[in-house]
């Protein structure tokens, strides 16, 4: 990560001398980590409780998980969510990687404008993007209706298109970082050894930026799974997505079943972050 040379100040406890600032800093850290993890732990624990309200511990049971897998609405929403996340990840990773290559490798007029357009989705609040896409889809559907008489509804496709639009920016950012760390001389070396530009890309460039691309893809997948706001605005009736379904149930009441599905979502996120960390370690 970084050099330890400038790390002159070691924790007070390490130096064998207890100082107030050292102790209070450690105590503070412990409390913050408790604050960060207590709710998550509570959630996991209460997904195994017998209590029907899911807020008290009255004994261990796996009933809620069983019930979960028999809940067709939740299962359907889960499948929808995974589908949207997979497709949007695939498309946004491809488009984003190509764009990152263009931005890192070429000088062209209007580059600053494109740059701004790429970063804007990262900084525009989700809700603004959501209402804009809602208005846009309504307008397009009205136009199609007027022209062809067809009545279209918002469905998984509209959500997927929207997810691609905001995922792509994150992919571009991540892939650009790995392209910037890539030594261009390796490409010259490949050309020098007789590889044409196609061979150079697939044999040298691609394998070396692959961790970055996978990192970007994992980020896109996570964002897509987590997204609630855009999904809420853009998914049509009957095509529920998991976060939207969870939200609508949570607004009504806490149930252990929701605790259970939340726990599973948590496990998935942790798996994904572990994967991305492993990839970074290998680099």
């Amino acid at each position: 990560m970084s050099q330890t040379a400038n790390r002159v100040t070691t924790p007070a406890i390490e130096r064998g001398r207890l100082t107030w600032s050292g102790v209070s800093l450690s105590l503070h850290a412990v409390l913050i980590y408790l604050f960060l993890y207590l709710p998550i732990l509570v959630l996991i624990i209460f997904s195994f409780t017998r209590d029907a309200f899911g807020v008290r511990w009255t004994g261990f049971t796996l009933d809620w998980y069983v019930r979960l897998f028999n809940d067709e609405r939740l299962m359907g929403a889960s499948v929808n969510t995974l589908l949207v996340a997979s497709v949007s990840t695939l498309v946004s990773t491809i488009l984003g990687t190509l764009m990152a290559m263009a931005m890192e490798r070429y000088q062209f007029r209007g580059r600053e404008g494109v740059e701004a357009l790429i970063y804007l989705p990262v900084v525009v609040p989700e809700i603004v993007m959501a209402v804009a896409l809602l208005a846009f889809s309504a307008l397009v559907f009205d136009l199609i209706n007027a022209l062809t008489g067809q009545v279209l509804r918002r469905n998984l496709t509209t959500v997927t298109i929207a997810h691609i639009a905001f995922n792509m920016s994150f992919v571009v950012v991540v892939v650009r970082t790995s392209l910037r760390h890539f030594d261009r001389r390796l490409e010259e070396a490949a050309a020098d050894l007789g590889a044409d530009s196609w061979q150079t890309f697939w044999r040298v460039t691609f394998p070396l930026i692959l961790p970055g691309i996978i990192g970007g893809a994992l980020m896109a997948f996570t964002l897509s799974l987590d997204d609630f706001v855009i999904s809420l605005f853009l998914s049509g009736p009957g095509t529920s997505l998991l976060p939207v379904e969870v939200y609508s149930r949570v607004r009504r009441a806490i149930t252990p079943e929701i605790n259970a599905i939340s726990t599973l979502m948590l496990l998935l996120s942790i798996t994904l972050v572990l994967l991305s960390q492993l990839l970074q370690r290998r680099r």
């Binding site: 030594d183 001389r185 390796l186 010259e188 070396a189 490949a190 050309a191 020098d192 050894l193 007789g194 590889a195 044409d196 061979q199 150079t200 044999r203 040298v204 394998p207 070396l208």
Partner: protein, 367 residues
């Protein structure tokens, strides 16, 4: 050996923006030659090499490899291979895969690739490390992998871009000898870019000294050192004393100059210089002779009375700064041929002495 040069550059110019990085360079490099491009950083030597490799294209001028124009040939179709400054080994491939890469690009059958790869690795004595990744190797080993990776393709010309720059002093010396003997064995033309004059002198058959995009002089190491044709080359290669003055007399390949402080010195003149023109006399410190007043015998050359000012003993040599007058000092190196601890065997500051500047050891260069 064919009479067509391996590499020929004709009036090659390369501009980055407005400023020329390489300015009207013409070179002919023969088959099997060990040729060095020597110059300070930013002199255009690396750009010249990159144009031969095909990573840059000349803004104008022609470049031929064995008589073929390279104007439209991309790097991957050129019969040259490069050893890069930082080696540019593919980090995701083993040593063996790195070396095999070029042959795979030529679409050679597998059974032909394997023996050639191991041959090349044996050539650089790395057969035992074939399965390692580049980052598991030392700098010297990486350097040899880069060599094997280039040589295995049997290029017509091997380009080396400061390949020893990243190595420590001792390893550098070793690799210089190894490279030289390797070149003898494989007989390929080597073009070697370096800013280290000692390295260039040690290894090259011929050297082109470059500065500010121009080739100033091309010649053998001896020619470059003993007969530099301009002030920059004399200054850049080795060390020298410069004495500025005005030409007063030229005859039979010699010129005499007179300095503002009244010294009159004679030296070899590569070109006949008209009397009255400004010129510089260059004489290397080891070619000046210093004697005590008593030793002064009947000499051909006028002796200049000097006083010893600084004496540095550096083991093989003693380096002495002598003062001629208020304004002028010169450096004189004497080899310590005799092993002795006798103080009197060495010069002492403050001593009076006589300095001889033999005309055959000095060069008169035009400004």
């Amino acid at each position: 050996m064919s009479d067509t040069p391996a590499i020929e550059l004709r009036d090659v110019i390369k501009r980055f923006g407005e400023t020329p990085a390489v300015d009207r360079v013409s070179l002919q490099i023969g088959d099997g030659e060990f040729f060095s491009l020597l110059g300070p950083s930013g002199c255009g030597k690396t750009t010249t090499l990159r144009m031969i490799a095909g990573f840059e294209y000349p803004s104008s001028g022609e470049m031929l490899i064995h008589g073929r124009s390279m104007a439209t040939i991309p790097p991957h179709r050129r019969p040259v291979n490069t050893v890069f400054q930082s080696y540019a080994l593919f980090p995701h491939m083993s040593v063996e895969q790195n070396v095999a890469f070029g042959l795979q690009m030529q679409r050679l059958p597998k059974q032909e690739i394997a023996p050639r790869v191991s041959e090349a690795l044996e050539l650089v004595r790395l057969g035992h490390l074939a399965q390692r990744r580049p980052n598991q190797l030392s700098g010297g080993q990486q350097q040899r992998v880069a060599l094997a990776r280039a040589l295995v393709n049997q290029p017509e010309v091997l380009l080396l871009d400061e390949p020893l720059g990243a190595l420590d002093q001792k390893l550098r010396k070793e690799m210089q000898l190894e490279l030289k003997s390797l070149q003898h064995r494989v007989g390929i033309t080597f073009i070697f870019v370096t800013h280290d004059q000692e390295e260039a002198l040690t290894m090259s058959d011929r050297i082109a000294v470059m500065n500010q995009g121009k080739v100033l002089q091309v010649g053998s190491p001896t020619e470059i050192y003993e007969r530099p044709t301009c002030r920059f080359v004399a200054d850049f290669i080795g060390e020298t004393n410069f004495i500025d003055g005005e030409v007063v007399e030229s005859d039979g390949g010699y010129s005499s100059i007179v300095t503002p402080d009244g010294l009159r010195l004679r030296g070899l003149a590569p070109r006949t210089l008209p009397a009255g023109s400004a010129a510089t006399l260059s004489i290397r410190p080891e070619k000046l002779r210093l004697t005590t007043l008593e030793q002064a015998g009947p000499e051909q050359v006028a002796a200049l009375p000097v006083s010893v000012e600084l004496v540095s003993y550096i083991g093989s040599d003693t380096r002495i700064t002598v003062r001629l007058n208020e304004q002028r000092t010169l450096d004189v190196w004497e080899q310590n041929r005799r092993s002795t601890l006798d103080r009197n065997a060495y010069w002492q500051p403050g001593e009076q002495a006589l300095l001889f500047c033999p005309p055959d050891n000095a060069l008169v260069l035009a400004e």
